[in-house]
């Protein structure tokens, strides 16, 4: 038993050690160094970058990012669950429907984002259609605000919610559902009291796969938010590019990761089985 398991885990260990943990150690080291005169890193060692981060303006940005990522995750869950349910019941066409969910995402994310910008603009498709139908007179400001960012995030990460949900829903024992129906439960009750709890692992997986990237997103808030609002991802990106302050950027990144890890531990501790 153990030998096979060791072989199975070995490649993952190799990848994680070499391509994740070691680079992360480098980033940790960077966060404890100082910004070089013209960018990059230099001695001396110091905790200054972390101290700088403990400032209302940066913490406020962190808070904002949590809020936006949270909203996006909840909406994806609400949108994605019925869709995953539908696909899991689709019989022979399951893979087809699944692939149709993924298909749009084989075009570039940027192109899809620009397509949304085209739809949402003042002179874009949505506004001009609404105006032509006489529903509105002046164009609605659909673009360059938080709503547009959330829309973009939901759109971008929906498959990350649908796929794990599908994974668990598909394996659902039909007998349980039939039993519930036999006992007189209506479809909604079956859904809430039987399907939902049984799909908890998929929901947890989906929530994690959506919330985390949304938190660290920077292209979407940049493009759809018009660069007017800063999420933590933008802040980090700015440090590594324009500001060339690698230590500060590294410190923010590690602080973010620590906060999220704490949340995940709290989230997962609620039942015995961990997610991974």
């Amino acid at each position: 038993m153990n030998r096979l398991r060791a072989w199975f885990l070995a490649p993952s260990w190799a990848v994680i050690l070499l391509l994740f943990l070691f680079p992360m150690l480098i980033i940790l080291a960077y966060s404890l160094l100082t910004r070089g005169t013209y960018g990059g890193i230099s001695l001396p060692w110091s905790l200054e970058s972390y101290q700088r981060f403990a400032d209302p303006i940066y913490l406020g940005i962190l808070w904002r990012s949590f809020w936006i990522a949270g909203a996006s995750t909840v909406i994806s869950l609400l949108l994605g669950f019925p869709l995953a349910l539908f696909i899991s019941r689709a019989g022979k066409r399951k893979n087809l429907y699944l692939s149709l969910v993924i298909l749009p995402f084989w075009t570039s994310f940027l192109v899809r984002t620009y397509a949304w910008m085209f739809l949402l603009r003042d002179t874009g498709l949505i506004n001009s259609t609404l105006q032509k139908l006489g529903i509105i007179h002046d164009p609605l400001p659909l673009l360059y605000n938080d709503g547009a960012v959330i829309l973009g995030l939901v759109y971008g990460y929906l498959p990350f919610m649908v796929l794990p949900l599908f994974g668990t829903l598909e394996r659902l024992d039909r007998n349980l559902l039939e039993a519930a129906a036999d006992l007189g439960a209506r479809p909604w009750a079956t859904l809430l009291r039987v399907v939902l709890p049984l799909s908890a692992p998929g929901i947890r997986a989906g929530v994690i796969l959506v919330f985390i990237p949304c938190l660290g997103a920077y292209l979407t808030p940049d493009l759809l938010g018009g660069g007017k609002s800063v999420m933590i991802g933008n802040l980090i990106q700015n440090q590594f590019t324009t500001a060339r302050d690698w230590p500060f950027g590294s410190a923010i990144s590690l602080a973010l990761m620590a906060v999220v890890m704490l949340l995940l531990i709290a989230f997962v501790r609620r039942d015995e089985e961990g997610l991974l």
Partner: protein, 341 residues
């Protein structure tokens, strides 16, 4: 099993690329900053093969070459980035013996302040920041102060770049874009925050389409991008603000990691040839640093007000200089505060 497949595949890929015997030059330049036939001409004349990559910002370029193993031979930084690159040991010195065409440069670019002896860089082309507007706007904007005009609420954009946007605010206050004076910078920050509610967004080149459609009536824009937009849309105009504006001279440098410095020198010299420089400026719609090129421009281009404005307008321009490290941190913080306001 997986590893073997990967290694075989990878070596297969590597083998594919080594079939061409010509010397290779890897050039990393700004987008739309060269004439389409310049590289083929160089390849034909010197029997070389050029891999030409593009980037959109100095930061993007720097992030890639910082490590010294990017694979690029030549890049085109803006003048104010040369010092930081030098400080980080990224540059190879220029051998003037291999660059006879350096004399073609205009006098003011023979001794630029970032590299007075041209030891490391060869000036290439120049951009400047100003205001592009849709002619629907009447009266048209004339100064930075017009970008703070409440009647343009929701129809204004500024560049998504701290140096440019803070610079515009500084100019509006009559100050230098390169100042490191803390008090002056804070005043500029206050101005930028005052402007934010009026802004539609912070956008760079992509604002062009919204300018044309009328979503945006006035946009903070570089003259090169503006000229490219104006080429296809006569309803757009460009103005150099009355209070002054920032100027960004770009230059070519050879990276220290380059294994083909002689070929790189040949390319730089090639770019300095008047006919080539003229073709580049014409195609890319830019201001050239090459006086030989200017002489052979067609008259409409030579007198283009956006790219080759009158002397008194040039006098208002201020070259962007390297931001000193302490001020950099303040500016960085200011930018975060402006964006989060």
């Amino acid at each position: 099993m997986n590893r073997r497949v990967f290694l075989v595949g990878a070596s297969g890929l590597a083998a594919c690329s080594s079939s061409d015997r010509r010397p290779r030059l890897n050039v990393f330049n700004w987008s739309s900053y060269i004439a389409p036939d310049t590289v083929p001409k160089f390849e034909a004349e010197f029997g070389a093969r050029v891999r030409y990559g593009i980037y959109e910002s100095n930061e993007e370029m720097l992030a890639r070459v910082m490590g010294g193993n990017s694979g690029w031979d030549m890049v085109f930084p803006t003048g104010y980035i040369v010092k930081p690159m030098l400080a980080n040991g990224l540059l190879a010195p220029l051998d003037h013996a291999q660059l006879p065409n350096l004399v073609q440069l205009e006098p003011r670019f023979q001794q630029p302040d970032w590299d007075p002896e041209l030891k490391w860089s060869a000036p290439y082309m120049v951009t400047a920041a100003g205001i592009a507007y849709n002619r629907k706007l009447n009266p048209p904007p004339r100064a930075w102060a017009d970008m703070w005009d409440a009647r343009l609420r929701g129809k204004l954009t500024m560049l998504d770049d701290p140096f440019d946007t803070i610079g515009a605010a500084l100019k509006k206050l009559g100050l230098s874009v390169n100042t490191s004076d803390r008090e002056q910078l804070l005043r500029a920050e206050a101005e930028a925050i005052k402007q934010k509610p009026l802004l539609r967004a912070y956008l760079n080149a992509e604002v062009r389409d919204q300018l044309i459609s009328g979503d945006v009536l006035a946009a903070h824009m570089w003259n090169t991008t503006a000229q490219q937009a104006m080429d296809s849309s006569p309803q757009l105009g460009f103005v150099y603000p009355a209070e002054g504006y920032a100027v960004y001279p770009d230059c070519s440098v050879i990276l220290r990691e380059s294994k083909r410095p002689e070929l790189a020198h040949k390319f730089i010299n090639f770019l300095l040839r008047p006919d080539i420089a003229a073709a580049n400026a014409l195609a890319a719609r830019t201001t050239t640093t090459n006086s030989g090129a200017r002489k052979i421009f067609p008259p409409e281009f030579r007198d283009n007000p956006t790219l080759y404005p009158a002397e008194e307008i040039i006098a208002r321009g201020e070259w962007a200089k390297t931001v000193d490290p302490d001020s950099q941190r303040l500016r960085d913080r200011m930018w975060t505060e402006i964006k989060s306001a």
